[in-house]
Amino acid sequence: MSDQNVSLWAVYRWHVIVGGGLILTQACLIGALLLQRTSRRRAEQSLAEHLRFERLLSELSARLVPVSLDAVDVEIERGLRRVAEFLGADRASLLEYLPDRNVARVCWAVEGVARQSSIVGADRFPWTAEQLERGQVVLFSRLEELPREAAIDRQHHQDAGTRSCLSLPLSAGGSTLGVLSFDSIHHERDWPVELVQRLQLLSEVFAGALERKRVELLIAERLRFETLLSEQTATFSSLSPTEIDRAIERALRRIVDFFRADWSSLAEFSHDSRMARVTHSWVAAEIPWVVARLQRGEVVRFSKIDELPETDAAVDRRTYLRLGIKSQVAVPLKGAGGLLGVFTFSTLGTERSWPDELVQRLQLLGEVFANILSHRQSEMEAQRLRQSLTHIGRVSTIGELMASLAHELTQPLTAILHNAQAAQRTLGAGAVNLEEMREILADIVEDDRRAGEVIHRLRDLLRKGDPEFATLDVNDMVTGMIRIVSSEAALRNMSVHLELAPELPTVWGDRVQLQQVILNLVLNGLDAMREQGTGARVLVIQTATDSSATIRITVRDSGPGIDPADLDHIFQTFYTTKPDGLGMGLAISRSIVEAHGGQMEARNDPDGGATFSFTLPVGGPGQ
């Protein structure tokens, strides 16, 4: 049987061996096939992922490249979200380095994970920052991978719940603009080299967006500054002296806002340049609680900031802290019409107490200042009234001249129109004589200048504002005035004679106001001669040195003279002998002359007619 047995093995041995070999081969084949399929699937997967990444990259570029300044942060956040979802990260953030060593952060996080605050100090991750600054990627899969030097970084990562983190520097044009980082909160994870390389590609898109934002902000900032500068230039070019102080303070305020400073001041040097006095200042100080108290007339005092109520005066406390004020007493200055101002004493270095007795003394001193302030306010009000009265007087004087001024203006305008129409017609007829055209244009230019002069003279006279004192040539002033009235006089068939003393010394005064006085006297003179039946109607204007220190300007008419009954009252306000007069002209004229340190008088001439004259002191500024 054994033979049989042997023979059985012998008979089937090859079958068995071949069969087993076949099975083995098949198994090998199947195994290899399976292996191939797996690797192909992996390759396919990697290809698909690669494609997804490509799509993400192009999508982000498409959204972040053309974005406008105000939408850039929103788009960045949207981009972060897309990248984090792609990576399966829990939190993604983009940190932008600000000029003042802080960073601004745009952050996105999955549900349940805290986003991080938007402005943070750059010193939270010193080691990481240093690496990034050198252009290196910082990554760890576990917190323990961070080196010993990174203890602070590790602590802050731990506080933020980060278990793995990848940070990529964002740089453009050689400087580091910010950081792109991805955190894993829920579990630790790896950051394969290939992934990091891809993310570096992505980071370039974000860096580009940051760079553009920075450039646009820079431009916008420059523009804002240009606007500020041109606004201030425009404001100051048209101001009267009394408006300037307020305008300077407003400007300081704008400038403080612009530079985000706390306090700005303008100081003027004394004549000898040894002392500078602060003339204007602006403090960006919000102290609503204190102001409310002062407005109720209460004294406010504190020896240290802690004495101010914590919640009600929270804004005030912050302001004092910022300005470094340690203690303060503020005394309201009360006037008849209410609160005039406030009188403040502060300590900056140390805290101090303000005893009752001291406060009482300050209140007494405050009354002195309140008196000064209220006196100045009423003085300014009176000055303003006087000025507007002077202006009204001038406007009504000019109103009398309106018809002849309109005539003065119509003449050159008519000539311009006719000349231009003559040129049009000549050109239309085709016969162009260049010489004639040149003459026509020259005439147009000349007439335009003439019209401009009329307007200029009028505008000068109608100017409203503070007196502008200057050195004046009296003869010049008289001649300028006569140009305004000469056509009026000619139409009334009256003549104006000038008797101007040569080489008169100059006077110090306001040209417009003094011309107003002369104009007023001349028009009065012309009016006085209206009823005159016989004889030549002549108005004589004379300038002369009155004494070594004064100049006298005289206006003499050939009218009927002043009724002796009126002679004493003619300078009174609202006293008039004209049917349509306001009775203001002479009163205003006299007040102008007196404000210039001169005197005005009126008298009748023995041979008929009236003479008005006024004096002006000779001199320049400061006399």
Partner: protein
């Protein structure tokens, strides 16, 4: 409009540049222009033979435009006047138009308006000149009549018969016929109707029957 001899336009305005520009503009229409700085200066100039028109500023020192119009009317010189004024008030407008002004324009004047007024002024002037010339010529003819012929002429044109005229003048009817023939001849009239018209134009005082 503008004949072989260019019509003359006088510009009177006290403002030199307005005067010059007006002259320049008016000249573009082919007129001859003379300028004057005042009404007096203009009055010193003898009036021209040909057609003309006066452009006059209302408001001038010395003699005003309206005063010049009155002065011209008083000296029986009926010139065509176009007034120009800075600001037209109703009173002076009415006065100027009643005085026979062609137009009363307010500065600044549009070229078309001004030139059309001047055109009307010139044509009015030309017509009145033609009329004047005709009258002058008729009066010359009338002057050639003897005293008797003139008497006959005055009666004939009233439509009186020869017999009536003869008895009126106390002469024979035959003499009336002779005188009448001479009148027709001297007055160069072809018919009684034409003689009547000439008498009318020549301003012959017609004695009412």
């Amino acid at each position: 409009m503008i004949g072989p001899v260019a019509p003359l336009v006088f510009v009177v305005d006290d403002d030199p540049s307005v005067r010059k520009s007006l002259a320049r503009l008016i000249a573009t229409d082919g007129y001859k222009v003379e300028t004057f700085a005042s009404a007096r200066e203009f009055l010193a100039r003898p009036l021209p033979e040909g057609p003309c028109c006066l452009v006059l500023d209302v408001r001038m020192p010395g003699l005003t435009g309206l005063a010049l119009q009155e002065a011209l009317a008083a000296s029986r010189n009926r010139l065509s006047i176009v007034f120009i004024t800075g600001h037209g008030d109703v009173a002076s407008t009415v006065k100027a138009m009643k005085g026979g002004a062609i137009d009363f324009l307010t500065k600044p004047v549009n070229a078309r308006v001004l030139l059309s007024a001047i055109e009307r002024g010139v044509s009015t002037d030309r017509q009145s000149r033609q009329k004047q010339a005709k009258i002058a010529e008729l009066q010359d003819r009338i002057k050639t009549l003897t005293a008797r012929e003139a008497e006959v002429f005055a009666l004939v044109v009233t439509g009186m018969l020869n017999k009536q005229i003869a008895s009126d003048l106390g002469i024979s009817e035959k003499m009336v016929k002779v005188h009448r023939g001479r009148v027709m001849q001297k007055m160069r009239a072809g018919s009684l109707a034409e003689l009547v018209r000439l008498a009318d134009q020549g301003g012959v005082m017609v004695a009412k029957p």
